[in-house]
């Protein structure tokens, strides 16, 4: 009935489409506007967007008319941003200034000290940074960010392990899905029968972002965690779902059985546990020898659950494992929506 009006910025791209799909029948939020670049403005969404998701475009969206990404054109309380980073950098503060909560998938403000980089099942309390942000910037709205899609699943798994054993060192190698590059994104001739062993700017993000999210909340700021990361990122011929192989060294050494038990038992902080988009469960541990696999496991928990498998001893560090996360659901649009839900629940909207 009394749904909160929300908008999607960058609604025609691949992450934008995922927002539109996940917001269909959302219990709290109602999409009142969708914005995209000039060449789409004025068109119906069904004409403007070249739909790339497996599930059909939701009915509610088909006839909505694309508006420009300006604060005047967007009468929402929350805006979900699937904007490119350079555009996000300019536009998102305008929306925050105008009193809207910007839940952003862009990387532009992830490193800002007063902007939460948030995975509610990991660091829900970091949302308190919003208060500092409002004070410092004089905004009535705010900016919340979710991390890079590859940081996401890795950080959820590390959080469970960090709580129990103290994570010190992490080697991680990703095999990332095509949807992570947007649309048109990766040319088919580049990836058919191939692997691309680099994703520009990605390794730096995955080597840094988890440190902020695993950092302690102390005296109104986040103290970056003292963990060393070495990351290699790769693109593979998968539509959705990022797979990461990780080797982890602990402060307090642990065997695979206890690590697996800790992962299985992990629950989100209380405030983040029963939101509409809360992953159920937060982490699923598979016991088969060859799981998780993106095609089979990416939709676990409606694409919000982090799936871990092959937890075993590491000959150099302590344990090694495989972690899978749906990159456009948990790792992008679903993550932003989950963040917005936490904001509402905490009375910070």
């Amino acid at each position: 009935m009394n749904q909160i009006p929300v908008a999607v910025l960058g609604a025609t791209g691949s992450v934008g489409q995922r927002f539109m799909s996940l917001l269909d029948n959302h219990p709290w939020f109602k999409v009142v506007a969708l914005a995209a670049s000039d060449r789409s403005v004025g068109q119906k969404y069904s004409s403007a967007a070249r739909w790339v998701l497996n599930e059909p475009m939701p009915e509610y969206a088909r006839d909505m008319v694309v508006v420009p990404a300006t604060t005047e054109a967007v009468p929402a309380k929350i805006v979900f941003s699937a904007l490119h980073n350079d555009i996000a950098k300019d536009l998102e503060p305008q929306f925050a200034q105008a009193g809207m909560a910007v839940c952003s998938n862009a990387s532009s403000y992830r490193r800002a000290e007063d902007v939460p980089l948030l995975l509610p099942e990991v660091n829900a309390e970091h949302i308190q940074l919003v208060k500092i942000q409002r004070q410092q910037r004089g905004w009535s709205g705010c900016i919340l960010t979710n991390p890079n899609c590859t940081s996401t699943g890795l950080t959820v798994a590390l959080k469970a392990l960090d709580d129990a054993f103290g994570v010190k060192k992490v080697f991680a190698v990703s095999m990332q899905a095509l949807s992570g590059a947007g649309y048109p994104g990766v040319p088919s001739l580049d990836i058919m029968d191939n692997v691309i062993p680099n994703i520009k700017g990605e390794e730096e993000k995955v080597e840094w972002e988890p440190r902020k999210m695993l950092g302690k909340w102390k005296d109104g700021s986040v103290e970056t965690a003292d963990i060393q990361f070495s990351v290699h990122t790769n693109r593979v011929a998968v539509t959705d779902g990022h797979t990461v192989c990780a080797s982890v060294g602990f402060a307090n050494p642990a065997d695979p059985e206890s690590a697996e038990a800790v992962l299985r038992a992990y629950a989100a902080p209380a405030s983040a546990r029963d939101l509409p988009s809360s992953p159920r469960p937060a982490i699923e541990v598979r016991s088969e020898a060859d799981r998780p696999q993106p095609r089979l496991d990416r939709l676990t928990g409606k694409g919000m659950t982090t799936v871990v498998g092959r937890v075993r001893s590491d000959p150099i560090f302590d344990i090694k494992f495989v972690v899978l996360s749906h990159n456009t659901i948990r790792g992008a649009a679903g993550g932003s929506i989950y963040n917005a839900e936490l904001l509402v629940q905490e009375g910070l909207l």
Copy 2:
């Protein structure tokens, strides 16, 4: 004119086919027999083999009749073995006993102390083990092995670095091609839009085999190298070419520039440098940000060259890089043939 008669055991499988293809017009070797399992015996090769290579079946092979894999049926001096490990274990010693040099792609004897595990551009001198083997086993023939296809490229790159800086620790994550699993091998429904994050038995091999090959030859035996390996193996949707992401720690720290220089400058030992199958060059270093890639680089040096790229600093160890090797050429059939050439050159046939 005076070509050495050779045979291929397991000639109908995917590695067997690669042997047949690479031995077409070989300057030293002439295929006089090809052996396969009972259900193929008596058939022409063109009927018995379901050909899977991109290049057509060589003309010389089409009408050859498949014989059983027995010493009586195979009048060769060298036999190339593409047999399954369990069959190889029984059969290969019979051929060695009968005076033939078995150049094997199977894993059955790789760990035997008197059997060379050989990459000529890395450890050519280990071929001297053949003399010990003959003494100990009373064979007039011998068994030579080449390593697992994923160990191959990684070990070549590590050798160059070990000579210069002393390799101490290695993290390696593979993205392996489908042809490595033979034929029919991986079902298409398992790998389309997917990654399989495990290859049975593979991680153990890649964590051990390089230690033997990088070991010192001393007093008639090989002293296993003191290097720690942590390996993750994955199957991806690529036809040929194994890609490995590696992070390496040295005894004598080095920067990326010097590491790259050492890799570029690497040359095989003199005895292994000018054989028909010698890789030219041994290692190629790519300077692009996103190479090597399997589809584009696997045929470098006719598929015998190890291709390295993205040599850069590692935040935990010293350097990280990507290495690519053609798994059924350098990593299997081509490797066995190169080994056989070294055996002939060293007068050990």
Copy 3:
């Protein structure tokens, strides 16, 4: 409450898995037994089946224990058969004899004159053949069949056109999904970067089956339709969804607009319109220039709808178009369930 007890024969294969998934929470049917080959008998389903579907194995199925495919072991009123044709040929009559309704996906009895070959939205009245079948064979049960997965979508589209214009000649070329070949099915090395331009036995089926389904029900038997078919079948690298390009000649020539109108307006016969698995709509016509596409359109109407696009003039016949159907839902398991629903609705169980 009063659900009808059903069983799945061949429950571990890829079509069997689809049956298990589609029967989860079915309003009329309750799975009371699942049968598979001897090596699975006695195991829990979660151990016996190598699950290949995108959606997870339904909870109800995980702990069910696999029983042998015998009438004694299967206490059901309806059995869904995903058996191989040669096994189906022997076993299905035993279940019919024992009083069960066999809804079969196998081809063994499709051509039998007293066995309905059924697509309820096309030829619901053919189900009356069950009465003849029972008389002639002395069975209290019966056998119902659904057509080959490639015949399915093509026949639905042809039915709409036949009613309006009288179909006389059909050229059809399929591009079929991997799941149509079962599991392990097509080796990945056969289909990566490739097309296989033949599917054994398939062209004969698609050239004949639509003629039975489009045949008139007259005096207690089906009069095969007088339509000429020329069919080419191909396997392509798609997981699910068969695409067919068709050119059709009519008795009463028609233009693309009227053909498209007829396809859009098509509705199933009344008895087949409101069953739990009825496709909604029966046919969807896409107006984009490049649809239907398997990845984007196969789940239309929960995978039960036939999707048609590119309806245009044919330079030789009358019109040409593209038709897409989900091969393991509408074209296999979903089709058998829809048939069973019609049987119940008609009071023939």
Copy 4:
């Protein structure tokens, strides 16, 4: 020694790359210039081109500097055009006017009555049109075109059948490779696990071009052949090699055996038989039940041979078969080079 100087226009694209690769070590031609769009001009080819072919960039090309596509900048006798159609339309006449022979892969002039649309093994005598063209247009140079890549293989097969039986009607459905769309071309998200059932403008080309090529040369002009075509075109997940399923009706009915014999026996006209790029053989007929396949057969005859298989009876027309042709070799760059060779051989340069 006395090689003819040639240039490639549009050298950085995917067809342009194929030209560069095929002209490496050409016995008659020497590349003296390569032209591309403004943003590449002045760069070394190795920097300007994002190489997409499996085989490495030829050495001779790496350091050549890209020039603008103007007659002044290109000191060649023959120019190979891989330009986009709209650019080709303006530029190609300028080169012809300036005395150069333009061998074009663009479609701009294929339908011009005085421009040969040429497949030397099919209609070598049509090259005589060049004389008419020069008279009418007052050019000292000329324009020669090769057909669309899907028309190519189909027309070669039809030519053999037409000579023997008189082709009257043709149904053809293509499954086309990604390289046909150039680079970046088809986005990976559009084709992974998918088929795109339309290629813009392609069906019209394939329904018309073969009629010109199979037309009779009479009184200085080409009389378009009286054959009806109905064509469906599709894009599939294959890197190289277009597969076409065809059903053909003849004036003089023939059985599959005689059709297959005619295809096997087909030879190019004498003037086109022994050129450097002549396909050897012109047509290869495979007898396996599931060939030709793009991955396995596209490189037959160095990619210049048309491969036919599955020749069988057609229930509506006379015979049906599958035909495969390498789209960027025989169907594009290789075809233009073959045309140029014929021009030289006929003394028309």
